[in-house]
Symmetry: C2
Subunit: 421 residues, 2 copies
Amino acid sequence: MSLIVQKYGGSSVANAEGIKRVAKRIVQTRKAGNDVVVVVSAMGDTTDELLDLAESVSPLPAGRELDMLLTAGERISMALLAMAIKGLGVDARSYTGSQAGMITDAKHGSARIVDVTPGRVREALDIGAVAIVAGFQGFNRGTGDITTLGRGGSDTTAVALAAALGADVCEIYTDVDGIFTADPRVVPSARKIDRITSEEMLELAAAGAKVLYIRAVEYARRHGVTLHVRSSFNNNEGTLVINPQDGETMEQPIIAGIAADLSEAKITVVGVPDIPGKAAQIFTIVASTDANIDMIVQNVSSAATGLADISFTLPKLEGAKVLHVLESRKDDVGFDSLQYDDQIGKLALVGAGMRTNAGVSAKLFTALFDAGINIEMISTSEIRISVVTRADTINEAVRVVHSAFDLDTEDVALVHGGTGR
Amino acid sequence: MSLIVQKYGGSSVANAEGIKRVAKRIVQTRKAGNDVVVVVSAMGDTTDELLDLAESVSPLPAGRELDMLLTAGERISMALLAMAIKGLGVDARSYTGSQAGMITDAKHGSARIVDVTPGRVREALDIGAVAIVAGFQGFNRGTGDITTLGRGGSDTTAVALAAALGADVCEIYTDVDGIFTADPRVVPSARKIDRITSEEMLELAAAGAKVLYIRAVEYARRHGVTLHVRSSFNNNEGTLVINPQDGETMEQPIIAGIAADLSEAKITVVGVPDIPGKAAQIFTIVASTDANIDMIVQNVSSAATGLADISFTLPKLEGAKVLHVLESRKDDVGFDSLQYDDQIGKLALVGAGMRTNAGVSAKLFTALFDAGINIEMISTSEIRISVVTRADTINEAVRVVHSAFDLDTEDVALVHGGTGR
C-alpha cells in the first residue's frame, strides 16, 4: 500500500462534470489500496472572478483581505470534491490550509511555508478516508491570519504535504501528458520525457517551461519528493521528476529538453565607465526594484573610450519600473543612455548529461548558424545553455535545435494534451 | 462612545455597488465615534448557487462538506466589505466564524451556539479597526470542523456577538423600514412599529412575520440585547425590539401587530376512538417525523359513535411525510381516515397589552364575522390569538382586523421598503 498525494489544477475541476471525473479517478486510486491525499485548486476561473470583484470594490485591496477572499475559491472546490467522492461510496474529508497544518510566514499574497503539521490529514487517512486539502493557502501562527502562497501555490502545497507525510509519490495532474522535450505546439515531433532529474526540471522551469512551478520543484528536490506529472484526462504514465542520490548516476540522454520564453525583454545600459564597482552599482539599483534579472552580459570595453555596455534580461512586466529607476540614477552611475528591447526570445537547452559531454555548445551554435538565426546573448550554467535571439525566430530556433540533438520522435499522436481525452 | 453591532443581509451586499454603499454607512458609524462590529451574510444568491453546485456533484451532500462549501459565501462578502472600508480610509479586519470565536455544537447545517469567545474581535476594536464577522457560521471544538447555524443564522451571529461583547445595540439592516403592524403589501395603511417587546416580536415571528428569525429574537431576549431593525437604504429610525426588565411595564398599545401565514396546511385525523391516550399516540407518531406542529384542535366526540376528529397545522413542506407515517400506523391507532387541506391561511394577533384587556378575542371574531370570513380553528397564548381561515380570505381578514384594532395610519408613504431607497 502506497501513500499518494495527488494535485488537481483548476482546469481539471472547472465544473461539476470535471469534479465528478476527478472524484472517480481518486476513488480508483483509493480502491486500488492506496492512502490518498488530494490537493485541489480553485475551480476554473474562480480566482480571476474573485480578483475582479476585489478590484470593483477597492482599487488596491489589502493583502490580508485579498487572501481571505481568494481562499474561498479552494474552499468551494475541495468541499464539492469531497461530496462527489462520498457520493461514490468512499469516505472523504476536506481541510483548509490551516486545518491541514500549512504554517506559513505572514507575507500575504506570497507566503512561504515554514512548517507542515498535517495531524488532521493523518487522522483522516487512519480511518480510511481520502483527505482533500485546499491548495495555495496557509496560516500564520503569529497573526492568526490566512495567507496564500502565490503563483503555483497549489503545486507547492502538494509537494510540502508529500514531504511531511513521507508520501511515495506526489502526482501533479494537468491537461498535458507530462513534460515534453519542447513545447509540442511549436515542435510537433516533441517527445514526452519519461524521467527527468529535478535539477534538469528546475532549469527547464526557470527557462520558461510552464507545466511545473520552480518553487514546487525546488521544494521537492530539497525534501527528496518524487513528482509524477501526468494528465487528468487519460491513464497514461506521465513524466517522473526524480532525485538521484549523491553519487548515483542516472542513465540518461545528454539533453533532457528545450524551453523557450518570449516573456522577457532586454535592457542595455550604454556607455558605462569601465571602472571597478560600476556593475555592482547598477545591479544594486536594479535589485532595489525587486525585479527578476536573468541573463547578464557585459561587452569588452573600448580602449579608446574607456566605456562598456551592460545588457540584461528581465520579465517585460518589470521593464518600465527598472528603466524608470535607472534613468533617475543616470548621473550617479555616469552612463550615456538606456536601450529597451522587448522583441527578444530566449532558448534554453537543458541536460545533466552535458556536464560530461563536450561539444554541446558548439553543436547548438552550429545548428542556429545553419538556420541563419543570429545569437545576441549567451549564458551557461553547469547543465544549461541559454541564448537570446530575435523573438520572431525563436520557434524556428527551437525546432532546429530539437532536431540537431536527435530529440524528435515519429510518434506525434502522443503529443500535447487537452480537454476531453 | 457606543459599541454597535450591525448585521447586513445578502440583499444589502448583493453586488459591488451594494458593498460600497454598506461600507460607507459603516464608515459613517465609525467616524461618529462608535466601535463597530459588522456581521455580514453571503452576497445575494451566492448560497443558492453553491447549493446548486453541491446538488450537481452529489444528490445528498455530506453535512460537514456542505457547511465547508456554504461558508465560502460569507468569506467572500466579508473580505470584500473589509477591503471597501479600508478603501475609505478606515481600518477593517474580516474574521471567519471560527476566528471570531463562534463556538457551536457539531450539528452540521443547524448548529447551535454554545460559547462566544470574541478575543480577536475585541483586539480589532482596541486598535480602532472595524471588525467584520462572517454570519451564519461557527466552529465545533470537539471535531475541529466548520459548522453553519441554519436559516437566519446571520441574525443569530449578530445577536450572539452583541451579547458577548456587551454591545449597546444590535442593528439588523434589511430592505424594509422596520417591523410593521401588518405586511404593508397586504395592508397599505400598516404602520411601522417604533418599539415592540421581544416577547411580542417572538410571537409575530412565530406567526409568520418574516423580518426577524425566531431564534435570533429568543437569543436577544435571553441575553437582554436590544435589537434595532432598520433599512440599509435610508437613515430612518426603524423598530426597536426591547426587553423590559421584570416588573417594568412599557406604555404600549394593546395590539402590537398582525401576522399572516400561508405556508401551512391542515391535517385532520378523522374518526379517532375517544379513549385516553389516543391523542398522545398520534402526536408521538407525528413527532417521530420531526415535523413542526403548530395549532392543534380536537372536536367534541360524538356520544353516538364514540369517535373524535383531531386537526393540526404544519408546514406544507412537511405534509407528505407526516401523512405517510400516519397512514402506515392507521391500524395501530384505529382512526378512519386522513384529510389534508393546504388551502388554509393563519392570522395571528399579537400584543402584550391583551393580557390586561378583556374583549380582544370578541373584537377579533366580530370583525371577521362582519366581513363574512369563517373561522376554522382558534388557538391562543397569553399575548397572541391565532385563527385559521380559508387561504383566499386571509388578506381580507388581515385588513379588517387591522382596521378593527385602530392600527391603520394615514401616512402610507412610509410603507414597505425596497431597493433603491
